[in-house]
Symmetry: C2
Subunit: 329 residues, 2 copies
Amino acid sequence: MDKVLMSHGGGGSMMQSFISEIFIEKFNNEYLNQMEDAALLPGKTVFTTDSFVVKPVFFPGGDIGRLAICGTVNDISMRGAKPLFLSASFIIEEGFPVDDIKKIVDSMVDAANEAGVQIVTGDTKVVEKHSADGIFINTAGIGILHDEASVSIKNGKPGDVVIVSGTIGDHGMAVMGAREGLDFDPPLLSDVSPLNKMVEKLMALRDAVKILRDPTRGGVAEVLYEIAGMSNVGIKIYEDKLPVKENVKSACSMLGIDYLHLANEGKLVCVVDKDFAYKALEIMKDDKYGKDAAIIGEIDDSGLVTIETIYGTNRIVDRPIGELLPRIC
Amino acid sequence: MDKVLMSHGGGGSMMQSFISEIFIEKFNNEYLNQMEDAALLPGKTVFTTDSFVVKPVFFPGGDIGRLAICGTVNDISMRGAKPLFLSASFIIEEGFPVDDIKKIVDSMVDAANEAGVQIVTGDTKVVEKHSADGIFINTAGIGILHDEASVSIKNGKPGDVVIVSGTIGDHGMAVMGAREGLDFDPPLLSDVSPLNKMVEKLMALRDAVKILRDPTRGGVAEVLYEIAGMSNVGIKIYEDKLPVKENVKSACSMLGIDYLHLANEGKLVCVVDKDFAYKALEIMKDDKYGKDAAIIGEIDDSGLVTIETIYGTNRIVDRPIGELLPRIC
């Protein structure tokens, strides 16, 4: 490996090893080594960052601005924290329409208002034509750990229940559709949404909520593999329990894509103590962004991530390796 | 104005109005409106962000990695705060050499160690060939306000003294030289350095240190204009007191460039109560990065930024408008 490949940013196992080898080992410290979506710092401060390079910049159901706010709000939330303050840094290609920036900023403002966060610091760089593709946005964010929170990717134990907060693959397929000119009827919109309010309500269940993770690049499959790996457990899910929109499902079978690999930007995967599973499900279903929430499986001690198909057979879930679709976020 | 121009990112007055109109007015809140290099949040937390797009990625005296650490360390420091934790987010063009990433990461590690900060969270995105130019790095940072700190761009009062911590324009001219193939004898290196230790020592002077600002894009001239504008004062500087390397000075006169417009990445401009000016100067000169520090002028009530030339005449300092040199940081 002497040159960076698209798959090094694809969210799958190639990206994980690239990041471990190139960054984690060198930057090595107790906070980074938590390997969570956000770092937990002293004083219950939670800190995270993401750069957004989605293409196209405007897609059905959202745009890079809403994505940049929700992505960072959600990464903080998945650590069991309340997001408070965001930074916003723009790299803009010379010639990019100013009206498009205004639209993007408006949608950042709307998303920030909805999530109840403030954009408190920023930066703007402009690069020559062809030195960037339109606009890239970085957001970093600071939050404060919920008092009740006790979530970690390492918390999974056999018997725990796995819940997903809604339909799978909407963002990935909506962006793919926009890029490839696919027509969906009914129209398919990205799920890009801030999940902090849902997480805040889940925190009432305290340490019964063991793991929170948003299945973005690499999709639900990658999250399940990360949970299995970091908690040193297995996971079994059930195909007939997976909430997937019909049009996403049929587009996937047409294109030969596994919807478990598709990115989501307004969904979370939650691992809960089994005695609190229905309570957690109820909390999610009561939330604006959780009405299609479903229990999809459970943690076991197999060390494998398996799926029971609608035919009753069992198979290993494919782990995403390289990139399904570049620049999904 | 319907398309973004290079000058919108050039650090001069065009960038200031672009940012005010497009971002500040929309994101409008008490923290962002401080208009400092970093936001001061509740709990004495200081938060900042910068994206780095410097070209070339490796330049005499540094690289984009060292720049990305020092830039954010310095922005936190200029708020009178101690930098603690940084994020690092990479946008990499497909095909970028992995060995170059390793060199950049090594230099980030060195700079972070020198500054005493930790890189605790990160992100990696890869975009297609020609969708970015090599590598862009965003760093955001969190710091904690020094107990003694009382700095703000609005603090300048007539009679205060203006000090610069060393030679002016080294970074800007080093990058320009690397890009244009200019040969300097002796070689000219960028000054890219972390200034947090120097600031920490200056804090012993408590509220006698009124303003700290690092003159990056737009150079010393832009910082003087921002101070004059935000503090509602004038500033007079003296050409014969400005520390400038001979080779920077001669390259500037050859190229018709004002060194006051050249970017610096390891210098600060400090406004100090006049009774503490020599003490502040001594502290700076004792620091590794401040040996060429000099008192360059004073605040007055003229409302103008003026320079007394070596011929004894007075003129208005030119304010940078567009971009002198794109992608300097």
